[in-house]
Symmetry: C2
Subunit: 423 residues, 2 copies
């Protein structure tokens, strides 16, 4: 692996385009959505059979199925889930906000916060099923005060859903679970079917079909961000352990062949040792093919003049995950502007944040950390403003409001004030 040098290049020069490829799947997904919207459960059933090979029984997961799933898992596993939920709750509770009110005597303005009525969580199936996805979406919704949390996830051909996923849903208080996956599940959540209720917002990751479906139903209901391939950028100084840095790069690379792993360091020695470590470690991984392809395509090791330069370049890249494997990590955190989640010091692997520490793992990718935030309680509430004028307050403001309205050519706006004065 080649070691590059940072000489104030742009992020684009160093890392290429990270834009999403425009989706050729959109028209297929558009047809699926129209079909589910028109034919409801009938269409859902047909797609479940076609795509998942699942053709039996009801969409809704029963209490018995959930109990069986919980019982099939070790008490250690359940306890681990519970600790994780505890940490995630503790963090997200801090995100809760109250409204405010400014009372000027004869004039009140304010903002109130209302939780969404019903949220829909999409949990992918496929090769790996992620209980952490359930936790990271359901816990913030619950804390926000969402009345009903509905989850959909594809069943396997035998109608089963992974026990870990069902147990996670049970522990964080998901209200209803449906066996439906892909674009058709997104359509069902957005428009509702006989079985699946229409929700106000859909969150959760998915493949390109799910992403395209979320994009197409956006506006009919709310959606969270459309996540691209996962990324890590590690800033490391000479105090970092090369084996640890390599392990962290690989923990990203194993996700999928499009995942990106970048190391920025001011130590040539560290860079060289990490290259060696990568070669040693990758061969030992069960997912070594994926990790190796990802390393070949999207792994960069870049030497910078200083750690400050590395932070500057990191801000240009705006990584989803940023590790500051440096001695004085909190000092550098102050300087970081664009990143989804930051892992501080030598002892904080990204993996700690993926499941366990408490912050969310749904993070802005592809450089969107420049302007967007991790998933959180804010995604499950909305605010409503309000204004109250007494007659005397309106009389005092009337001249200005009328002047403003007339200057914008909107006379009926002015008339609506005048009508009140004449009363």
């Amino acid at each position: 692996m080649e070691i590059l040098r940072y000489k104030n290049q742009s992020a684009k020069q160093l890392f290429g385009e990270r834009e999403e490829t425009s989706s050729a799947v959109e028209s297929a997904v558009g047809r699926i959505i129209a079909d589910v919207r028109e034919n409801g459960d009938k269409a859902l059933k047909a797609y479940a059979e076609k795509f998942d090979g699942f053709n039996g029984g009801s969409f809704e997961v029963t209490e018995i199925e959930i109990s069986k799933a919980v019982q099939s898992l070790s008490s250690d596993y359940i306890k681990m889930l519970e600790t994780s939920v505890f940490n995630i709750e503790k963090f997200h509770k801090k995100q809760l906000r109250k409204g405010f009110e400014i009372d000027d005597g004869n004039r009140i303005v304010g903002q109130k916060i209302t939780p969404l009525e019903r949220a829909g969580i999409y949990v992918p199936g496929g090769t790996a099923a992620y209980p952490s996805t359930v936790l990271m979406n359901a816990v913030p919704a619950k804390i926000a005060g969402v009345k009903e949390i509905v989850m959909t996830t594809p069943a396997k051909a035998d109608g089963k859903i992974r026990a870990e996923v069902l147990a996670a849903a049970k522990i964080c208080g998901v209200d209803r679970i449906f066996k439906a996956g892909g674009a058709q599940a997104i359509a069902a959540l957005a428009y509702g079917t006989e079985s699946i209720p229409k929700v106000d917002k859909i969150t959760g990751p998915g493949n390109v079909y799910v992403a395209a479906a979320k994009r197409l139903v956006s506006g009919v209901c709310g959606i969270d961000m459309i996540a691209g391939p996962s990324e890590i950028l590690i800033v490391a100084d000479k105090g970092a352990n090369p084996a640890v840095v390599a392990a962290d790069l690989l923990s990203q690379a194993e996700h999928d062949v499009n995942a990106s792993a970048v190391l920025l360091t001011d130590s040539k020695e560290l860079a060289e040792k990490v290259v060696t470590e990568l070669e040693i470690q990758v061969g030992k991984l069960p997912r070594k093919e994926i990790a190796q392809t990802s390393l070949d395509n999207n792994c960069k090791i870049i030497l910078t003049d200083s750690i400050d330069c590395a932070i500057e370049l990191s801000d240009k890249y705006a990584p989803e995950h940023l590790e500051l494997c440096v001695g004085n990590a909190f000092e550098y955190l102050e300087k970081v502007k664009n990143a989804g989640s930051v892992f501080l010091g030598y002892n904080t692997p990204e993996a700690a944040g993926d499941y366990y520490a408490g912050p969310n793992h749904t993070l802005p990718t592809g450089g969107t950390a420049r302007f967007s935030s991790p998933l959180g309680v804010d995604d499950f509430v909305k605010s409503t403003q309000y204004i109250y004028y007494t007659k005397s307050a309106l009389e005092s403001a009337a001249v200005d409001i009328i002047k403003f309205a007339v200057s914008e050519g909107l006379d009926a706006h002015a008339e609506s004030v005048i009508a009140r004065l004449d009363r």
Copy 2:
């Protein structure tokens, strides 16, 4: 005008579909964006000439142009703008948030809030130019702490921009103003040209071309909501003045032929009097053709059994603007779940909120108040999470984190923890 009766119908049955029509302009806009992205200022110049008839001089508005604009306006007008900015600032300052940190001794998790570096505000030109648009976008950005606020607005053929718009920009501290409009301006803000700097987020209203362009560049930079036609829903009891209610319905109807105005009342007498008042008042308006068409197409007067029923129906509709023209407005505000901005009591016309009272006038339309919020300071900041574990904290958590990673089939994630334990 027919008076309808609410018998627990759905919002769709009463008001029809309010979805945005899928945009046939997208491919044309796609070409404009590609052109600006490739040819920068040259493309911008060509489009300014083609669409606005403006072909002279530089894109950037000079200090001299701005001074002249301010001087051309009456001191009363400037004072009115300043009062409005004062009110908007006072409201939006309450939206400012701080980060938080949870320090468990050997484990710290937190969230920090960072303002966007550069925001781009789009201000439409055309038949009416709105200084209030400048205020409602620039003030929240400024309060959020955005480093640089860039504004684009189309110039007329003579290269001029309305004095009111320039003065508003000056008063709220817009840093740079460019003469560019339409999809090409959005492309310039998203990708940057020789003259216009690339921004992190674009906010502001616009026609279908601007809306399509914002949708297409979303992800390259952030965008605010895509606003649909404006709406008002008035809940009025028998204490409301029919002339006032009619004036308020018309203040919405005059916006454009697609604007919607809905009255819900439990008083048949009021409903009938409002119908009469509408007929009288609409004829007197300068924009009477627009208002009349809008009334014919999208105005509904609906009788409900009670004010509580009206609130229930309003929540199904989720209006952009909600007036509670009732005696005990604050009591009913408690029950409102879905609305952008609420105007309370008999003396608070929507017009007060459009310019002056302080809350934002950029509000969710088309029922999206179910899940989205007015524009505010939050739109101009983003949050970054952070996590710090000491070695001992990681050792305590290691068993759980490894268990979680392995259960998701991600062994390199587990290895990244193990590598630190072995150190």
